[in-house]
């Protein structure tokens, strides 16, 4: 029998967000999930007061344009439900591109989640063979400076990169990166793409239809780099 804290019973769902759902913002994901859990008829705990709402907590919001194999939602329950049962009900109420792959009563908190790994794939790059090497050199520099969004300020993101390795696979450049997911120092993988675009000449073609890049979140880790759970 699983020991659960019945005063605040949170059930954790690890889910994927794939394909076209990368274009759904975090806010829209929250609204969508709210309806999913109501349809799934889970024993939801509701906030007190004038406008009762279920308690949903999400880890590390995903930006638009990023797919994920590793999203987390904690949902407060009013009573115990078998995780497998809750997972099945939720999955029956979502489409193939968004599915729960694990459900459990957690011991950890989302603040314990410190790192996340991503795969960035840049397709149909120009033919220069040393582009992957160039990216690796750039990523290893001591100052990895990017311009902050909506600001003139330059920031060094090097301390927020645990590792980042680029390699060439046929006509694609594949970059595997482990980036900070600490809420106080969260690094959006878009910054890595932007850095390599500005400095390394990635994604320099003006034709959107011949060039593409994909970003996928793969996994989450504790501070000691063991898998988050």
């Amino acid at each position: 029998m699983v020991q659960v804290n019945t005063t605040k019973l949170f059930l954790r769902f690890k889910f994927v967000k794939r394909g076209s759902l990368q274009y759904i913002s975090h806010l829209d994901l929250v609204r969508t999930m709210h309806k999913v859990i109501v349809r799934a008829k889970l024993p939801l705990w509701y906030t007190e007061g004038f406008n009762p709402k279920p308690k949903m907590i999400f880890a590390a919001p995903l930006s638009i344009g990023t797919e994920s194999e590793c999203e987390y939602m904690d949902l407060r329950m009013s009573e115990y439900i078998e995780p497998a049962e809750a997972m099945a009900r939720i999955n029956a109420n979502m489409t193939d591109e968004m599915q729960v792959i694990e459900a459990y009563y957690p011991d950890s908190k989302f603040t314990d989640l410190k790192w996340m790994s991503y795969r960035i794939t840049v397709g149909d790059v120009n033919t220069s063979d040393d582009l992957a090497d160039r990216c690796n050199e750039l990523l290893l520099e001591e100052q990895v400076e990017v311009q902050k969004k909506n600001s003139d300020q330059m920031i060094n993101i090097r301390p927020l990169i645990s590792s980042a390795v680029a390699k060439r696979v046929e006509n694609e450049i594949v970059i595997d990166a482990v980036l900070s997911a600490d809420p106080s120092a969260f690094l959006n993988p878009e910054y890595v793409v932007k850095y390599l675009r500005d400095k390394g000449g990635l994604l320099s073609s003006p034709d959107l239809t011949s060039e593409y890049y994909e970003v996928k979140r793969l996994n989450a880790y504790f501070a000691d780099m063991t898998e988050f759970r």
């Binding site: 406008n51 489409t95 239809t209």
Partner: protein
Amino acid sequence: MQNKNISSVLKSVSKPGRYIGGEFNSIIKNKDEVKCRFAFCFPDTYEIGMSNLGVRILYDALNKDSDVWCERVYAPWTDMKEKMEQYSIPLSAVESGDSLDCFDLVAFSLQYEMCYTTTLAMLKLAGFPIWAKDRAEDCPIIVGGGPCVYNSEPVAEFFDLINIGEGEEVLLEICHLYNKMKADGTYTRAAFLREASHIDGVYIPSLYEVSYNDDGTIKEYKPLYDDVPTKIKKRIIEDMDKASYPEKLVMPYIETVHDRIVLEVYRGCIRGCRFCQAGMVYRPIREKSVETLCKQAKCLYDNSGYDEISLISLSISDYSELPRLTDSLLEWTDASHVSLSLPSLRIDSFSEELMAKVSSVRTGGITFAPEAGTQRLRDVINKNVSEEDLMRSVGIAFRGGKSNVKLYFMNGLPTETDEDIEGISALAKKVVDQYYAMPKPQRPKGLGVTVSVSCFVPKPFTPFQWEKQDTYEELMRKQALLKSCITDRRIKYAYHDAKVSFIEAVLARGDRRLAPAIAYLADKGQMFDAWDEFFNYDLWIEAFEKCGVDPAFYTSRGFGLDEVLPWDIIDIGVTKSFLLRERNKAYEGKTTPSCAEQCSGCGANKLGGKNRWCK
């Protein structure tokens, strides 16, 4: 399910979630197993189109037929349109991602006149000729429908087929005819359209010849063949309890305008406001039973997870069993954290009890529509509400904790004088006084009174269909007069752009001679006229000039009572003689009782329909 071409540009457009499809409850069929592919186009953005009840109903009704696959198409925002043009990406349906040339029928829902340019922009993005006469044999049949087609003449020549009236049944009949003729080898574009013209509620514009008098008025509408009807009778659903209604809603991922369950309570309206087109064209009134509504509400909740149910109709408090309906719904909605909203409350039937039922969850504002500032003018338009009704209703709203009251009015109504305009300001002031007459501890905090004023647009099939519209200058003068009357800082004054109302009036009562002007705008890349930021008055005027159209002919001229009207070939049930009677009573300042009190013989009862009021 996105189109490969579309997906390559999604990272570089705003709100890409508009284009992805794949929503929960959206319907995917095997395209090799269906006989008829139907594209349902909404000539506005995804967020607006997804909120439309008519589209939801028809999408469901068409897809219930296993031979038909109905998919949705929305207008791309301007940034996406640019990309589509730049990379030759054709307009596609959200379900399959297929371009529109893969479809058999492509239908447009025309909800407001200002969507006409967007409709043409979508035809262009699909690669179709905009004029029906230019379409090749293999081009899909382009269908029009929705409230605007009660006078579709300005856009009639862009459509192959127009559906007049409610579409649940007739659209399927059209699909079945199409399937039959394709199967037995008799299908040609011309043969199909000719055959379709025999279906009630189907108007084939190309089968009529229009001639004009020397003074520019219409001489005659003449069917080209004897078997083509001289008048097209509006279709209605006779029994709303048996009518098709969705059990599941397509669940948008992104936020839409009306992101909630919309429960249609009844069609038609027992009132007869003389400016209101909906109140006439949706007659006769047909109610759903409380049992049907409760079943539909519960089913939609279970399949959607929405936390709000909106009970809609033209005037919800006129539903004959509203207390029993709300009580039945409240039996489970409160416990499920679902709130009820009633968006069309009338001032004369607003009660404390009703307010308690709908405001259990949400606070905020409440809207009333006195429409005119004096009793005299309210009698002219047959609004049948009094100042006492309004004061009683706002009193209830204030006591119930609502501190924001919005009041809707219209400028430019027939017989309006400056006194009526001053009356708007006086009425708003009395609402403020009503608030301060309450003992301080009982007042909700933060009083806000908004006076929202639109401009009168004479609409076809209303008692005011012949009326003059005030000129732009006169409407501006009236807006300025009202502004000078409102001196109280607690009253906020919001008004519509009179230029938009002017163009709306041209299109609403226009005829086929406007089509080249609309095509001219589409050629200039104009779309989204319903959006303030894209409405381009000067371009409209330029288009009228280039195409030899005098807009005043359709607005400030007024129409002669014996004139052939562009919409005379449509039979909505309500007779022209009734409309004329109502017009005369308006000028006498006489009101007409509602259908619930007394039948006034409008003529809509001849359409049939199961209802409580008609004889």
